[in-house]
Amino acid sequence: MNALAARRRHPAAIAVLLVLGLALVGAAYSIFAPKPAQAAVASASADKVAEGRQLFLANCASCHGLSAEGTKSGPTLIGVGAASVDFQVGTGRMPLSAPNVQAPRGERVMYNEEQIAAMAAYVASLAPGPAIPDEKVSSGEGGDAALGGELFRVNCAMCHNVSGAGGALTRGKYAPPVQGVEGKYIVEAMLTGPQSMPVFDDKNINEEGKASIVKYLKTFENQPNVGGMNLGNLGPVSEGLFIWIFGLVLMIGVAFWLGQKAA
């Protein structure tokens, strides 16, 4: 304790305290943050739609309504199609863990593939809507990375950043990163226009274009960072912050060293 007391006026004491405080707050948040409730899941049945309906009534109906007509807390699911269910539930966005400006990508997917397929089948049975895309499109095979790059820069890059790193929208909403996202979910997002995102259906960007966009993103992900650390590919903000924090501190340190009397 004496050693600690003796060092309480050390120049690094404030920095150490700050780091400790931040770590504590972070740990407390991760413990107390709202988590999705564990919902009982019905056992598998032969009829997918019937099973999907059971799952829907047990897990989704409180917000989306008993017949998916929508309530004050959630939009109607009539006509959103299987692609929408597969995207929202498959990426862990639904069930929503807490009301917020937008549903974040979930760390944990709450249902297995079979259950998601059942719910998708039930929602698709309500009204026609976009179906889960073909493997041919979502794998990006046969797409043209150059065309995909051009389409991505014109249609997607303004929100998702030219490297797919994501970006900010208005009032706390944001476009999530698309790096490392499965091709299936990228295509489903284009087809259904989840949350703030507009719809890019096949009449806007055709299947070849969509496959090309997936191919472009996969090509981009596998490229090495030729320029060294990419700092999240966010552009001037993160790069400026880096040089202000590290470059400037280094320069000030050297200036102090130069100005110090030798004896």
Partner: protein
């Protein structure tokens, strides 16, 4: 001395006593400092040699995994690190040398006047006067006049080129108000085409909530594609017709569109960035540069940010085949403000 014990005038306290450094008194410390400086210089030599060796020995397509960076280019990393070691070795070595071994005895240097002596100045003036006399400037004024005129006029060709390259300001201003959406008198309405594929768009292709990045069909005849595109880029959105505001602005926006499909210039009225971030639930259009936000349901009025005017709307309708067309160009200049602009 005043009665309070303070001096009446400030007296120069002189320099503090000189303090010796470890290396000044202790030969072992001096030897250690010498070794440290030599070590830093040797590090620099190794860095330079390493740079040259890696330049020739490492292929520029070799990839390597580096912690915190990920997969990266080996040659770039080696060149950068070697160059840093080479330069920092010299820098740190020189500073360490100066701080430990070079003399640090305080020396007083008095200031002196900067100007030359009076004799030197008089002599220089005399040389100039004699030169002018020998060149007969005073006796032959016509040489002085024509020579000065020739030198002065020589600036004109440069100035004429500069002014000429800026073009006719009135014409330039007029052109800045035109885009390739403008339909000549009696001309056919211009079809809207997709930005990348350049294919025309049917009204039935545009679903509610969809957004298309659009150019005029005339872009294919353009001789200055990038310049024309920079002014003619348009964003096409389809809202549910009930989403528009019921006031004058919302009604105008709806009536200039077709069944809820509306087209707006993509060039921000602040400093001309492309406004492309459309949120289909709030119908807000966000400019990524300075966060100007436009409300599509109220004729793209500014609701946040530094932009001062709404985005210009492009009036659209459909032709006989159901394709979206623009019967007229923008009614106001697109893009940022300039001083002549009234609205």
């Amino acid at each position: 001395m005043s009665d309070k014990g303070l001096p009446a005038t400030f007296e120069n306290p002189g320099l503090p006593p000189h303090v010796h450094r470890a290396a000044d008194d202790d030969p072992r410390a001096a030897k250690r400092a010498e070794r440290q400086v030599a070590g830093l210089f040797t590090l620099s030599i190794l860095g330079t040699l390493g740079f040259i060796v890696s330049y020739f020995a490492v292929s520029n397509s070799t990839e390597v995994f580096v912690p915190f960076i990920g997969k990266t280019n080996l040659l770039n990393i080696l060149l950068g690190v070697c160059l840093a070691v080479a330069l920092l070795g010299i820098g740190f070595g020189a500073v360490h040398w100066a701080k430990t071994l070079m003399s640090d005895e305080e020396v007083v240097e008095e200031r002196h006047t900067i100007g030359s002596s009076d004799e030197a100045r008089a002599k220089a003036a005399g040389i100039l006067a004699a030169g002018a006399e020998e060149a007969q400037l005073k006796r032959r004024p016509i040489l002085k006049a024509t020579g000065a005129t020739a030198l002065g006029l020589f600036a004109l060709p440069l100035g004429v080129q500069l002014a000429g390259s800026m073009g006719n300001p009135t014409k330039a201003l007029e052109e800045s108000k035109q885009t390739i959406w403008d339909v000549p008198k009696g001309g056919k309405p211009i079809r809207l085409v997709r930005d990348v594929e350049r294919t025309p768009i049917k009204a039935s292709d545009v679903s509610i909530g969809a957004v298309f990045h659009v150019l005029p069909e005339t872009i294919k005849d353009s001789h200055h594609v990038l310049e024309d595109k920079a002014k003619a880029a348009v964003l096409l959105m389809r809202l549910h017709p009930s989403a528009f505001a019921t006031d004058d602005l919302g009604t105008k926006a709806k009536s200039w569109g077709y069944e809820g499909i509306v087209a707006y210039s993509k060039i921000c009225t602040h400093v001309g960035c492309p406004v492309g971030l459309y949120e289909q639930q709030t119908h807000h259009l966000l400019c990524p540069c300075h966060q100007s936000t436009f409300d599509v349901t109220r004729d793209c009025n500014v609701i946040f940010g530094p932009a001062k005017r709404p985005l210009p709307q492009l009036k659209i309708t459909i032709d006989d085949e159901g394709y979206l067309v623009a019967p007229q160009g923008f009614v106001e200049p697109v893009g940022p403000s300039y001083w002549e602009r009234k609205k």
